[in-house]
Amino acid sequence: MRISRRSLLKGAAAAGAAGAVTALAGKAEASEHESKHRPDAVGMLYDSTLCVGCRACVTKCKEANQLPVDQSAMQGTEKAVYDAPSDLNGQTKNIIKVFKDGERFAFMKQQCMHCVEPSCVSVCMMGALHKEGEGTRSFEGENKGTGIVVYDKYTCVGCRYCQIACSFNVPKFEWFDPLPRIVKCELCKHRADKNKTGPLAVANPACCEVCPREAVIYGKREELLAIAKKRIAADPKRYNAKVYGEKEGGGTQVLYLAPASVSFQELGLPELPEHSAASFSEHVSHTPYLHGVTPIALYATAAFLIHRNKKKEEEAEHHEEGK
């Protein structure tokens, strides 16, 4: 009886360790197989030189996503009759800002960048934030390969690690709601039209639809990148020579063009290396596990040593008592 219970415990402990190890081995693999290549990835191109700051996209975004108005920018003034958010927040997924320095000024549109290798997806425990159709859970009705970073409120625990992780400070939290959610742009995936073909079949960002100047356009990332480069080549005096998002932080699916005289950092975009933060963090955290060998080896060694030490000690005690 006692023996069986003992072996049961041993078995349970072993099973626990084995479970952890399989998990970890899978972990290492997942990171390696994560495909960077998504030819069908969609995104947006925002051209700061075309934007006139009319904020039609801000209003339309709220309407399309059924978000309440937010007057935080005008709070306490007579102007607090407009929907005037001061930043992205729990009620605002898209915002127009302006950079101004003497003569130089430029508009700036902010929303989720839909990173190629998103930090938020890397850190989210149960895949609440994930690339559409990818990740550990099969999400019904999702397309694979669009690369859109979508949110699933049913697996989000509200840990806010995504907020810590995102270099662009995009995910926002509903601080004053007892049942809060994470709020961020999902590229109006819900506005997709199944009857259309091409990018419009998978998403249809309201901001792009409404923009009177076509300062922000929607399409396949590859095509948008080509357009951006063409614009720079056609008028190099007008543009900053770089397309932000081509390589920054592993690349983003929302791309930016800035006026020649303004840097992307001045527009509020962080300076990032070419490798993603996600790949760095995953590499450093997975490596010591050696595909799960380390924890198993550690457990086995520890169990062996402890068992042996205990025996020795008991023998010593018996010996002493015998005297």
Partner: protein, 407 residues
């Protein structure tokens, strides 16, 4: 006689004034926590989208579990390296660990926005195995269970020496059975903290643009692991001193001096890796900024290096007060480094500011208070602490119940 001194239940009045104060503090915190569930996290905290974790994660989870790592540190010495002389200090350390980790775990639940979705956590197939936080969560939850199993022998010993024959038989029987299974549990208590303590450092790896370059390094997991060991050894010394003042707990200066040399080594190792990495990565110029980063960096280095040197000085090794002070500094060093990496030297970007609210602070204090209260409560009722009192000890051993019910 066994070579071991035996732990004994302290006894005494349960609801003494200290206890009342501690429970009172927790009571206030409990009100805030309940309020939070009705109104959301915003109204009770100063957390923002920029400082989304406030002090609850950095202090309640990361620092508390660092203090709780005493169980891990002493366990390594005692069980893995077979230094049986540290045995008397295992039970108190394990109890502190069990309490600290439980509090860390419950703090997370308070802080989670969508806590009700946590029921998904056991669903292994949907785990995102790239998430460091998932590793921390799963590992910490398992470790909390392991720690309380480690506390069980004390409880069963207590039962074994109870006056009721039924309890006494129950305690004796299960105490023995448990003691047979213990090596396999303790082995888990070695593996799990190794994993999640390094992951607690690893959590910040992803925040490449936010954690200050002097703190952000690939070595974060390694540093966190070393610092938890050091905090753990510090905690054992500090704890035993405090218990010695109040309950005459057994205190062995020579033994602690020995153990503290290990701690000194760890503190030196930490500092060497930290400084070496800064030099190798070419980050020295960041020390040229005359702001709070420099202040905290210098303060940290002092807190790491001063006790490191102290632990190796004979003057300190022979003096109880000095050793206590050095141990306290070792804890503070690890705690400050953790808070800096997570909060004070974490920069969410322009325009974000944070200072903890009353509500957040009260919750943290209340959590600490209830932790101390539970420790006192358990030690009064069950044999956890080894008391320096040769005549009166109950003779109830860690692994053998010889004179059960003889008291």
């Amino acid at each position: 006689m066994s070579a071991h001194a035996h732990p004994k239940a302290i006894g005494g009045k349960l609801l003494d004034p200290t206890m009342k104060i501690l429970l009172g503090l927790f009571g206030i915190a409990a009100v805030v926590m309940v309020y939070r569930f009705f109104t959301g996290i915003g109204p009770v905290s100063n957390m923002t989208d920029g400082y989304a974790w406030g002090i609850w994660e950095p202090i309640n989870v990361v620092v508390f579990t660092g203090i709780g790592a005493g169980a891990y540190s002493v366990g390594l010495l005692c069980y893995l390296l077979n230094k049986g002389k540290y045995h008397p200090y295992v039970r108190p350390a394990v109890l502190v660990g069990a309490i600290a980790y439980s509090l860390g775990g419950s703090s997370i639940v308070i802080a989670l926005g969508r806590y009700w979705n946590a029921y998904w956590l056991p669903a292994v197939p949907i785990w995102n195995l790239n998430s460091v936080l998932l590793e921390v969560a799963v590992c910490v939850i398992s470790y909390v269970l392991v720690l309380w199993v480690e506390v069980l022998p004390a409880v069963l010993d207590g039962a074994a020496s109870s006056k009721s024959p039924g309890w006494s038989r129950f305690g004796a029987k299960w105490g023995q059975r448990l003691s047979k299974a213990m090596p396999f549990v303790i082995a888990l208590a070695v593996v799990l903290p190794t994993m999640h303590q390094s992951s607690l450092g690893g959590l910040m790896l992803i925040a490449t643009t936010k954690v200050d370059p002097l703190w952000h390094t690939w070595a974060l997991p390694l540093l966190a692991l070393i610092s938890c060991l050091s905090m753990g050894y510090g905690t054992v010394v500090v704890l035993t001193n405090i218990l010695g003042m109040t309950w005459k707990a057994k205190y062995d200066q020579a033994l602690f001096a020995d153990m503290s040399k290990v701690n000194g080594g760890l503190l030196f190792l930490f500092s060497a890796i930290r400084l070496g990495d800064i030099v190798v990565q070419g980050k020295l110029h960041y020390l040229g900024r005359l702001d709070h980063h420099l202040f905290f960096f210098v303060l940290e280095m002092a807190l790491f290096l001063v006790p490191a040197f102290m632990f190796f000085s004979p003057k300190v090794q022979q003096n109880r007060g000095r050793l206590f002070a050095a141990a306290l500094m070792a804890i503070a060093a690890g705690a400050l480094w953790r808070v800096d990496a997570y909060l004070t030297c974490y920069n969410a970007g322009e325009g974000w500011e944070y200072f903890p609210s009353m509500g957040e602070t009260i919750v943290t204090i209340g959590m600490a208070a209830i932790g101390i209260a539970v420790f006192i409560f358990v030690s009064r009722l069950f044999p956890v602490v080894v008391v320096d009192d040769a005549h009166r000890h109950s003779n109830v051993g860690a692994d053998q119940v010889r004179s059960a019910a003889s008291r």
